[in-house]
Amino acid sequence: MKPPHLNPLLLWAARDVIRRPWPALLIASALALLLTVSGTVLLFSQGLSQTARRLLAHGPDLVVRRLNAGGWAPLPAAEAVAAARQVPGVTHAQARVWGVAAGPAAPLMVIAWADAALPPAADGKPLAAPRPGEALLGPGVDPGPDPQRLALTAAAALELRPVGRLPAESALLGQDVVLVHSDDACRLLGLPPGEAVDLAVDVFHAAEAAAIQPELAAAFSWPVRITARSEAVGLYSGGLARRGGLMLIAGIPAVLALVLVVAGAVREAVGQRREVGLLKALGWTTGEVVRLQVYRALLIALPAACLGMLAAYTLVFRPGVSWPGSLLFGWRTAPPRLYLDPAGAFLTLLELGALVVGPYLAAVLLSSLQGAAADPQDLLKGEGLL
């Protein structure tokens, strides 16, 4: 088989990298590290925001809560559902019971779960809604020393028997969630029978959710506060944006590192006056010297960039990644294992790669152009070779 044809100048550039491995390794490491750090920050912020949006899209269009002088108040479930269903445009209304209870290791979110479908359990078996005395645990819930018993305390103390665990993929929302029967939830949270914490409402057209709100509010005989899904998404995105902004502060050292890499590239090119002068004395033209330097820079930068981008992608989108939970969200117990949505990550990485590799290549191109365009007389005489 005929060996592939490779440009000798490209091969020579590779030889040149091997000839002086340490400066090349230093620049490659700096570029790879720079892309890993900045790529991780950007991809994490983007992936989290995207995943949260996707998950919230499955939530109810509107959430109704009853108000009283002290703040929130329980609402009568059957009466509230009936009132909501009378409003034109409402397709579904469901009373919900949920609240926070103290668990064996940390506070837990307790949710009454009735007949809605559940994803398969962590071990792949189908999950059924919990019966009285049973509990389905979120991926991060620690049942304490006895895995057959979960002690919860809120308005009342309750002991439940864990019967399954939600899949790890649900960790972003369900990490510290305990699903229980509605009777157990009411007893634990101190709600009288037949009362609920809020009402989840779906409407025929999501776009009409805002228009329906006044009519829906008027349907109840007590004051309510209605929250639309778009508000929840905005609130969530706002929080993520603030967190992303804080994380971007980590980008300042990255920019400084890029400046140092560029300065190093310029310094290296300037330090090669003798070699450039000799090459020109041997018949190399300015263009050929510049091509050699640019090929060399590409051979250093491209693998480094690929490595940095791959590392950033893996750090953020590896299924079940857990470092952000403990590092960024201060999770006190087992951090949630995240399954973030990688849509759009490739484009983001390409843009970031161009932003990092571009200035380096430009610095190499300009400094080598400046050096190689000089006359051999100026290059070699200064080095004492003429």
């Binding site: 000799l278 033209t285 050929e288 070779l385 003429l386």
Partner: protein, 225 residues
Amino acid sequence: MDGLVTRHLRLVFGATPGPARIVLQDVSAVFSRGALALVTGATGAGKSSLLHLLAGLLRPTAGEVLADGAPVSRWGAAHRDRWRRRVGIVFQSANLFSELSVLENVILPLVPRSRSLAALRAAGREVLAELALTDLAGAQAGQLSGGERQRTALARAVVGRPDFLMADEPTAHQDPANAARVLQVLAACRARGAVVVVAAHDPRVIVAGVADRHWRLAAGRLVAE
């Protein structure tokens, strides 16, 4: 006119800020194709500077260098870059890339314009064989003796079959057998029509009788012997 011609060449170093040193003055000579010119003179007489001027590495302070009738010394840097492809040069101190192998040093002038590295290596090995350097092809240039370095530099200068060959002390540090090989390579260049200018102290070059013309540099002036 074919070959290299110098007209009233003058080269002055260090005009500012220190005192100026006149290296060459009023050097007019013709170096014909197919002829080997020998330039001798005392140390510091300006032999190397003359070779660098002829090779287009230095610009004259006054006067001009014509190559095949073209005023190369007045050309811009880019034009002279392209013209230097036709020039082979052996520096007095060899100026090899010490981290590269002997073969890599030899093929270096041809790398940018070659289509195949294998063809380059074959050409390099051929020249190395002529100078009895085949066994050292893979050795690092930094580990060579003075004579081996100078022969490697000559191999590098002739591998591209240049039209103009400038060799500064090519027989320095050579034993008689290798000095003969060096002279043979220079004679081969002359035989295929190249302009060959050799600066040398070595009496063996004079005695060997390979030179078609002998010039002597004294007090910056070139005098025919």
